[in-house]
């Protein structure tokens, strides 16, 4: 099994890396690049904790080969804020207390970011449908849905 050279954009920066073919994107991010905001939850595509954006679309990094992002653009939770200036979705999750233990939060925020890029004014039904692949065992989702609505309002100005 030979290592392979990949080149991709991670949170706006070009990266050149050598990876094993069986290395998962999630493990490359967390263990190779110390970007531990993206979480390992179930590992089988049920929980959404490992959600990152590839080419702007939410995907599961626990079921993505690192070699498969060659030539692509990847965004993680670490790439959302500009310095100390949080993204509108991050602010809304704080303001609505849409967090308890926080483990699912990066995944929720990345999925929400993709939803609002695609649909700036989602209905509650559309929010719940889009976020149904992200599980939260603490909040009961009420504050999360509220945070997404707030982020949508703030982004529309």
């Amino acid at each position: 099994m030979s290592r392979m050279r990949i080149e991709f954009t991670l949170n706006g920066r070009r990266r050149h890396l050598d990876v094993e073919p069986n290395q998962l994107l999630l493990n490359l991010l967390r263990e190779g690049l110390y970007l531990t905001g993206t979480k390992y939850g179930c590992g089988i595509g049920e929980c959404g904790a490992c959600t990152v954006l590839v080419e702007g679309e939410p995907v599961l990094s626990c079921l993505t080969l690192a070699v498969d992002v060659d030539g692509k653009e990847v965004e993680t939770i670490e790439g959302l804020a500009r310095g100390d200036d949080l993204d509108v979705v991050q602010k809304a999750f704080l303001d609505e207390a849409a967090v308890q233990c926080g483990f699912c939060t990066p995944g929720f925020i990345m999925t929400t970011r993709a939803l609002l890029n695609e649909n700036p004014d989602p209905t509650e039904g559309e929010i719940r449908e889009y976020l149904k692949g992200n599980l939260c065992r603490c909040t009961g989702y009420v504050n999360i849905v509220r945070a997404v609505k707030r982020a949508a309002e703030k982004s529309r100005g």
């Binding site: 073919p21 069986n22 493990n27 590992g43 959600t51 939410p58 995907v59 599961l60 692949g133």
Partner: protein, 298 residues
């Protein structure tokens, strides 16, 4: 269950990775490595199986860079969808939504947004789950699979394509290229219904119906059920029964009864066989009713 069956963290399988740019190159790789290779499309099934060591390929062939496999084409008499087309692309396609709403509904019901961004139509079919939502819809649409191997191309109906749970008619050196689906007449009514514990689960039962009516009489009828037999299945006896009949609630009830008799359900983690027999009757009746309401008069 051995301890490594519980691993979901890493891929404990070492393999050579290939990402051919053409169909011919992919077929050559398959001919060379055959049974020792796995095709990688979305990875949402394959990588889970590799984590659990249910599949341990020496070669992984990524087919997503092959242009011929990722097209949706509007043909004269039907739609052709490349096997590596992502489910989300199909869900968003105006062409699919406009001309084959049944397929749109079935694809939209699969997994989460994340899963649909990754998973492909060909992957959903080649995984050959008896519960595959796209398979049930495509079977009711009389879809055909186009398959490429070292000796050239061949086609198979979806009924011929599925052999059993996880088993397809593909030989180790063959690749599913595309699925072609004839367009329905404007007057046809369709319906897809899925029963699951939560909406993103695998179906406990799923059903797809295509109905054509003329003067209240059924001129054509296709019913497919999933998760009730070793493969998705067409309900030929119920279809035949309805053809030429007026679409009354009694006729639909009788057809649904036949469907529930003809299935071969099992007990599994999602439901018992007995439950599936009862629920398939109600689901078939509901899908017939909905399709009947949507069917225009020919």
């Amino acid at each position: 269950m051995g301890i490594n069956r519980l691993n979901t963290h890493v891929l404990p399988v070492r393999f050579e990775y290939h990402a051919p740019a053409s169909l011919e190159a992919a077929v050559e790789l398959l001919s060379a490595y055959g049974g020792g290779a796995s095709l990688l499309a979305g990875g949402t099934d394959l990588l889970v199986k590799m984590k659990q060591r249910l599949v341990e390929p020496g070669h992984v062939i990524n087919v997503k860079n092959i242009g011929a496999l990722t097209r949706i084409e509007d043909g004269a008499d039907g739609l052709r969808i490349g096997a590596a087309t992502r489910l989300r692309t199909i869900e968003r396609s105006e062409l699919v939504r406009g001309k084959l709403p049944l397929l749109h509904e079935a694809v939209r019901s699969i997994g989460s947004v994340q899963v649909r961004n990754m998973a492909t139509l060909g992957g959903n079919l080649c995984n050959a789950s008896p519960a595959a939502d796209s398979a049930v819809a495509l079977m009711a649409l009389d879809a055909e699979a186009r398959i490429m191997g070292p000796d050239g191309a061949r086609t198979a109906s979806l009924e011929e394509f599925f052999l059993g749970p996880g088993l397809t008619a593909l030989r180790p050196d063959e690749i599913l290229v595309e699925v072609s689906t004839p367009y329905l007449p404007e007057v046809a009514g369709t319906s897809f219904i899925k029963l699951g514990r939560r909406s993103l689960d695998l179906a406990t039962i799923n059903v797809a119906v295509v109905l054509e009516l003329a003067g209240g009489v059924v001129t054509d009828c296709r019913i497919a059920l999933g998760s009730v037999a070793p493969t998705p299945v067409r309900m030929r006896r119920a279809e035949e029964f309805l053809r030429g009949k007026e679409l009354t609630s009694g006729a639909m009830e009788a057809a649904a009864e036949m469907a529930s008799e003809d299935i071969r359900p099992i007990d599994d983690v999602r439901a018992t066989a007995e439950y599936r027999r009862e629920a398939s009757k109600a689901l078939t009746r509901d899908a017939l009713t909905a399709a009947g309401e949507r069917a225009g008069e020919g």
